[in-house]
């Protein structure tokens, strides 16, 4: 019997070892040379060198942000690849690889705005010593517009008809029509996907999404080179000897993948990790208590959480959807009443610890925000009046009902969002608040892979089978307005659209077109302000709160100020330790 036990146990152990041995040996290779990087430039763990360890909760699927939708990919890519311009702490576009930003005054922007001339600095080099020239700029455009490459987006780059490279430092972009957002092309930054790609490595290849360089770029134009990447575990960054600005203040950056925020907090406390950039607002409950050993910074971010009404109109024409949105939502008064019935400020004060704001409209924290608007207050009395006037009176169960389009309709709406704890808490709180004014709000929380599904996957929001929904959106850095056009309403005829609001309003369309008709930022700002005013007056969406980037770091780390557009990884060159 003892023997049987022993046999059993050994069987288990041996089998496992066989299984383990079937795979290749553990790959932990820290030598720079083994990764194709010229020898002699680096020391793996410099003694006395300055190292910072960062914790990311997700590992990038691949690094080159042109091919990935993950923000973590973009954050890592910002460290190793740069563009012609970048965003400073004040959200201004400043030169990176270029000598100056093209303007009408310096002749970089032509009179008709359709020709942009960029001048690169002289003597730029890739980390492998090859020169970085305008040919690389042209190649980047070709890569992005090659139909054989499954790039993330071509928007903007497909507006360029040709690029002239009269010499190695000049790139002349010819646009087919006026493109006001040209500044966002070929830029560094987490949302721009415009980093310059190396022609000498990728030339002549297509289907680049599968290329090892796209997965792990080992040749950099930015301040760092990724010298090691242990799958699922960590990445190592050493300075790029050929970066035009020189040697970063630090000697090494390590990124460790730590999925759980509680572990990340523990790691800060034990000193295993120096910087955690991706805490949620709800972590603010206990993070501030860790001062002064651990600092927490709450930076306004470019995103905001909003609740939307399904404004769909059933039909097969342009701008019409497969399903009607709830009939009560056709009335401005009902929509306004719902906004007035939600105490957004208390939500911000309690669930978000007062660290962020209630916006009046879209695009808070940006230069596009209409600062003349103040958010609707919390006014349940006014809300009830509006609903009474709209013909909805409380029934026996306290829920209002009334005639809408000839049918007796209850003000009972389902609501969908993802299953993050903060969203659950918020949805629950809103449910209680709306009950006070006689509106039934029924939240359901589902996984984001289902919630954000496309029309062909039958997702509720895309197909229009919902009453209300909630999610986060933002501006990057040009206000994204295509989502409100009639032509982008998602329906059986237009499955690829992204107007989740199913809103079709010709007045909106006109205003939005005006905002894209000029390259002059002042003119555009005026048009965008009008759009915001219109959306505010008509209560088309409910902005809930402006999202913040919450990051914590040890006292030894000296972090430069972060910009809203550049993000927290925008300036790793200037990071330092005490």
């Amino acid at each position: 019997m003892k023997r049987t036990m022993f046999l059993l146990v050994s069987l288990v152990v041996v089998t496992s070892m066989i299984l383990a041995g079937c795979g290749p040996k553990l790959k932990v290779d820290v030598t720079a040379k083994a990764n194709g990087i010229p020898d002699g430039s680096y020391v793996a763990f410099p003694s006395g060198g300055k190292t910072v360890t960062i914790a990311y909760s997700q590992e990038p699927d691949l690094v080159d942000a042109l091919f990935s939708s993950m923000s973590y990919s973009a954050w890592v890519d910002q460290m190793v690849q740069v563009g012609l311009g970048t965003w400073d702490a004040n959200n201004n576009l400043v030169p990176e690889l270029a000598t100056e930003i093209p303007t009408a005054a310096n002749g970089g922007v032509s009179a008709d705005g359709m020709t942009i001339t960029w001048h690169l600095q002289k003597g730029l080099k890739w980390s492998d010593g090859q020169p970085l020239t305008s040919a690389d700029v042209k190649f980047t455009w070709q890569l992005l517009t090659d139909p054989g490459n499954a790039v993330y987006t071509r928007a903007g780059y497909d507006q360029i008809t040709s690029i002239d490279t009269p010499d190695t430092t000049t790139a002349i972009l010819h646009f087919k029509s006026l493109y006001p957002g040209w500044q966002t092309l070929f830029d560094s930054g987490p949302n721009n996907q415009g980093n310059i790609q190396p022609e000498h490595i990728l030339k002549g290849k297509t289907g680049l999404e599968k290329d090892p360089f796209i997965h792990w770029p080992k040749v950099s134009s930015g301040p760092w080179v990724i010298t090691d990447w242990v799958a699922g575990d960590h990445m190592t960054f050493l300075p790029n000897p050929n970066y035009w600005k020189g040697h970063p203040k630090l000697d090494q950056i390590l990124i460790k993948f730590v999925p759980d925020p509680e572990t990340a907090k523990a790691a800060l406390k034990t000193g295993d990790v120096d910087f955690v950039p991706d805490f949620a607002e709800s972590d603010l409950a206990d993070l501030p208590a860790l001062e002064p050993a651990i600092h927490t910074r709450v930076d306004p971010g470019p995103e905001f959480e909003h609740y939307l009404f399904n404004l769909g109109v059933k039909g097969t024409g342009v701008g019409q959807s497969d399903y009607d949105g709830p009939c009560p939502f056709k009335s401005v008064d009902v929509r306004k009443a719902i906004i007035l019935g939600i105490d957004r400020q208390t939500i911000v004060d309690t669930l978000l610890f007062g660290k962020t704001t209630v916006p009046a409209s879209l695009w808070p924290n940006s230069s596009w925000y209409n600062t003349n608007l103040t958010p609707y207050p919390y006014d349940p009395a006014q809300a009830k009046t509006l609903l009474d006037n709209a013909g909805y009176t409380p029934g026996a169960d306290g829920i209002r009902h009334g005639m809408c389009n000839g049918v007796d309709t209850k003000l009972s709406f389902n609501f969908e969002t993802t299953n993050k704890q903060l969203r659950i808490d918020m949805g629950t709180a809103v449910q209680g608040m709306l009950l006070q004014i006689g509106v039934e709000f029924k939240p359901t929380f589902i996984p984001s892979g289902t919630f954000f599904g496309t029309y062909s996957a039958g997702a509720d929001m895309a197909t229009g089978k919902f009453d209300m929904a909630g999610y986060t959106t933002g501006f990057y850095p040009d206000p994204y307005t295509d989502g409100f056009l009639c032509s982008t309403v998602i329906s059986a005829q237009n499955q690829g659209g992204d107007n989740n609001y199913h809103l079709c309003d010709p007045a909106m369309d006109t205003m939005l077109a005006a905002s894209n008709a000029s390259a002059d930022p002042a003119v555009r700002k005026q048009a965008i302000d009008q759009v915001q005013q219109y959306m505010y007056d008509n209560a088309l969406v409910i902005p809930m709160y402006a999202r913040a980037n919450v990051m914590s770091y040890l006292d030894r780390l000296i972090l430069p100020p972060t910009s809203v557009i550049g993000g927290m990884m925008g300036d790793t060159f200037d990071w330092d330790v005490k």
Binding site: D286, N414, P447
Partner: protein, 321 residues
Amino acid sequence: MTNQAESTNFVPTLKAEIAGGIMPLTPGQLVWRRFRKHRMALVGAIGIIAIVVFIIAGSIIVPEDAANQGDLRNRMIGPTAAHIFGTDSTGRDVFNRIIYGGQISLIIGVLAVLLEVSIGTIVGGTAAFYGGWVDAVLMRFTEAMLSIPSLFLLIVLAKFLGHDIPTIKILGRSFSGSVGIVIIVIGLTAWMYLARIVRSTMLSLREMDYISAAKSLGASDVRIFFSHLVPNTLGIIVVSSTLGLASAILTEAYVSFLGLGVQPPTATWGNMMEQAQSFMSQGAWWLWVFPSLFIVLVILSVNLMGDGLRDAFDPHSTRHM
């Protein structure tokens, strides 16, 4: 050869008439007597009854809204006189939520366990009893079910059935009909372990002499199965039910995050625990200690009762503590 002499409560069932006119006890009555005398089993039974009474009485005294709504400004407060179990992340009273949460958790837990134990015993027993191709088909089916991720099954069901489920009204409370779906899915995806274990035990039991004796006496398959084989696997079934109950309650917690089952703000012990995870580092121990305590009390009670039941059924048993 049974051990009647050591049991103080045994009455031989030889003939219908015995001097003095004392009626012999049926096996069922025997089992009940032995169960009654089993001290630990009684402790368990009292525990279960106490919890059930608490839940039912509580829901009569406390209105459901008090468990589902709260004041945001009172959130995350530890146990005080006003809220003896504290408040949760949206200011709801934890004590009230334990009361209402228990109803759903226990309903789901008990029904799911009944389902999974029935399926597991029948599948495993049938496979062992008949062997041959019956065994092959049933066991391959078991392996297939093991390999299919129940999580995906739940997500897919939530997606397709999510909207169209009617609400059920029981005892004045309305539940989303998807609770029924959750019970069925948990039951249908948790029986495989028991099936394999029951089969392994019965494979060895069926070779025993008294089984072939019963067969040669002409006992039907069903009779042999339920009268001889099942009682001897009762111990395993009890263990499986106890563990399965805890598991079902915890699985249900996760299910509401997929869009199925009860949706917030309705409470269940499981989803209270699940939500407590986000607030661990803030030291909000009251969010998980109390639901956890109740879950452990329930399964301990069920386990003690189950042990007593097993001992009561076992004619060899000398244990009647």
